[in-house]
């Protein structure tokens, strides 16, 4: 009997050691992907740093609870899609054939749109051979993309709502301003969409007279003609829907040609270090709505953690922090197993978990989730003030 008890005890110890070893072997693999080369490399660097910082914070707090109650660490990989649609599709096809349970990316809307098209459109549709791999997007911001597939989710700000609110606020703050003139980077999906479908329509909705727009291309260097058009229009509000390089070029040309305006509005993506790095003096006063600013202890901690890993938390990359935290909660609620055999079941469980979310916690407050997989995030208005971004107004306050 004594011998039997000893054997049972030994077996028990062995089994518990085995279980612990199994748990230690198991990791929850999150596959980040985005632009790590080319001119939008800084976006990828920031997202990668933020994802790693978030995973570090989660792992230091014990990791992620699996279905059997054991804790497993999160492991983040990051692949380069070069902001290229074919490359992005190839990266995701490879990730989907591996053991990652969810993908986080991409950086560029021109990658996200075709990429979501290769995912299964309706989850569980056996007649659709599209990829069954959940993707949670942090950066690609062009409106309405997540509805392409039920496997696609986004945590990007709702620009339409942000600019509507901004123009309403401007109308109350600057009642003397009556007209708007736009400047648009014509060959970039996000900036083009934001001017024509968001800024232009939203400002008109508020009652502003839209006097037209000047157009330029992403790699243009000479803006004299466009700024002359802008000056000639003589609008009270100038709204620039362009990324930092050309935003700075245009702002410098506006300063040279002494363009007069009452309010300057910028594109969400320009509320970054790049703009201040390139033209802090000329950007002084530009107002931009953003879904991230280090305005509370949690947001400051996230920004610090990203900085410690060589990244910068901005409205795009900070979304990756929120995504990691959301994924932790969803994974724990869904009870995934994180074994080699359970990869597809885990993916489905995560997809279902994400699809069922109504609200999530964000760095600036509660985020609403729509039925189409999009987010409605809280935001603030920042302005360039003495070489840094400062919160000008918090509409939620």
């Amino acid at each position: 009997m004594k011998r039997l008890l000893t054997i049972a005890a030994a077996l028990g110890v062995a089994m518990s050691v085995g279980t612990a070893a199994d748990a230690a072997d198991r990791t929850v693999k999150i596959a980040g992907f985005g632009a790590m080369s080319g001119v939008v490399r800084s976006f990828g660097i920031n997202t990668q740093a933020v994802m790693q910082a978030a995973a570090k914070a989660i792992n230091e707090a014990g990791g992620v609870k699996l279905a059997d109650g054991s804790m497993a660490p999160m492991e983040v990989t990051f692949d380069d899609d070069r902001c290229n649609a074919e490359e992005g599709i190839s990266v995701v096809r490879r990730l989907a054939s591996g053991d990652a349970v969810v993908g986080v990316g991409p950086t560029c809307s021109n990658v996200a749109e075709p990429l979501f098209g290769i995912l299964q459109a309706k989850a569980g549709d056996e007649g659709d051979s599209g990829l069954q791999f959940p993707i949670f997007t942090d950066t690609a911001i062009k409106g309405g993309l997540a509805k392409i597939s039920e496997w696609a989710f986004r945590n990007v700000p709702n620009e339409s709502q942000m600019y509507k609110s901004l123009f309403e606020w401007l109308a109350s703050q600057h009642p003397d301003a009556k007209s708007v003139y736009g400047g648009v980077e014509e060959d970039f999906a996000h900036s083009r969409f934001t001017w024509y479908k968001v800024m232009k329509t939203r400002s008109a909705d508020v009652g502003y007279e839209v006097k037209g727009e000047s157009k330029w291309l992403l790699n243009d260097t000479n803006f004299t003609t466009q700024v002359r058009e802008m000056k000639r229009a003589g609008a009270d509000i100038i709204a620039i829907s362009a990324h930092p390089f050309t935003t700075c070029g245009v702002l410098k040309e506006m300063a040279r040609q002494r363009v007069k305006y009452k309010v300057l509005v910028g594109l969400t993506s320009s509320s970054s270090l790049e703009t201040l790095n390139g033209c802090a003096k000329q950007a002084e006063g530009i107002i931009i709505p953003t879904s991230f600013a280090p305005v509370n202890p949690e947001a400051v901690a996230a920004a610090d953690a990203a900085a410690a890993l060589g990244g910068s938390a901005d409205l795009h990359s900070a979304a990756a922090w929120e995504i990691m935290m959301i994924l932790k909660d969803v994974i724990e609620a869904a009870g995934i197993q994180a074994t080699a055999d359970s990869v597809q079941a885990d993916r489905m469980a995560i997809r279902d978990g994400l699809a069922n979310l109504k609200t999530t916690k964000g760095l600036l407050g509660e985020i609403q989730r729509t039925d189409e997989g999009e987010a409605v995030k809280p935001y603030v208005y920042v302005h360039a003030d003495d070489g840094s971004w400062a919160v000008l107004h918090d509409p939620n306050a």
Partner: protein
């Protein structure tokens, strides 16, 4: 002033701005054309090397707070060094009878230089020093940008120095000799490889200056600049006439001016279509370009 007068003034102002900016295209075009003239080869990494040199000169600006003129000179020196490296990697050891190999090697070098810049800067635009960037010379109803005028003057000086070197120095004679009669030049004791290397260094320095001028005109450097400059440089070279320096100068100013006119009348989205059409018109009706000759080499 009435709208009618603005409609008259604006296109003229656009041409003026474009021609001034075209001096940068002329500098890039000269680089392409000089290398083609000497080696009968196209160096597609030339504009990337120019932007690379301008980026390298940022060290002088950021670490030593050097004045703009010193930064421009540093860009010229750095680009000259990169030009030599391009020559060694892409041209020196590849047999002359394999022109496609050198062409592809220079394409690879273009991508390499671009990617090195992207990795070194994370693709972030970097502020670049300018001279007279807040000066506007008011010539009612027209105006001239102080920085573009400075760029125009500096470009003209650089072109004059180049022409002096080519037509008034032994080095220039050697360069022209290799360009026109490589075998005869070699028989006269002129080292072909050395002349080629020096050509790459000189054109590199000129390109560095062009890269610096682009940075100065925008006030920012971005790796985005390399490809459009390569395309514009090639267009200028073809329109000016392959191997013709005066052609590159005239074509540079012409392309700059036309570009702005097309933009003014047809918009930015159609602008490049018309510039390309201009290129096709030349290739079809005057393939030797404005000043080029059909064949000048033995």
């Amino acid at each position: 002033m009435s709208d009618f007068w603005w409609d008259v003034i604006d296109p003229i102002q656009s041409v003026l701005d474009g021609v001034m900016f075209g001096s940068i295209y002329a500098l890039i075009g000269i680089g392409f054309t000089l290398i083609f003239g000497v080696m009968h080869k196209i160096n597609l990494a030339y504009a990337a090397a120019s932007i690379g040199g301008a980026y390298a000169s940022l060290a002088a600006f950021q670490l030593l707070s050097a004045p703009a003129l010193v930064v421009f000179l540093c860009a010229a020196v750095a680009s000259g060094v990169i030009g030599y490296a391009v020559y060694i990697c892409c041209f020196r050891f590849i047999p002359e009878h394999l022109p496609l190999a050198t062409l592809m090697a220079s394409v690879g070098m273009l991508i390499l230089i671009d990617e090195v810049v992207v990795h070194a800067t994370a693709g972030m635009p970097e502020p670049y020093p300018a001279m007279f960037d807040d000066v506007m010379i008011d010539l009612e109803p027209f105006w001239v940008r102080g920085d573009l005028l400075m760029i125009f003057v500096l470009s003209v000086i650089a072109m004059m120095i180049l022409l002096y070197i080519l037509y008034r120095t032994r080095l220039g004679i050697a360069t022209r000799a290799v360009a026109q009669q490589p075998a005869a030049a070699q028989l006269c004791g002129i080292g072909q490889q050395n002349t080629n290397a020096v050509t790459f260094i000189i054109t590199g320095a000129l390109g560095g200056l062009a890269g610096a001028m682009v940075g100065a005109s925008v006030g920012i450097l971005s790796p985005l600049l390399a490809l459009p400059l390569t395309v514009k440089g090639l267009i200028v070279t073809v329109i000016g006439g392959l191997g013709s320096i005066p052609g590159a100068i005239v074509a540079g100013l012409l392309v700059g001016g036309f570009e702005n006119v097309f933009q003014y009348f047809r918009g930015v989205t159609e602008r490049d279509i018309y510039v390309m059409l201009l290129l096709f018109v030349f290739l079809t009706f005057r393939p030797q370009g404005l000043f080029g000759r059909m064949s000048t080499r033995d």
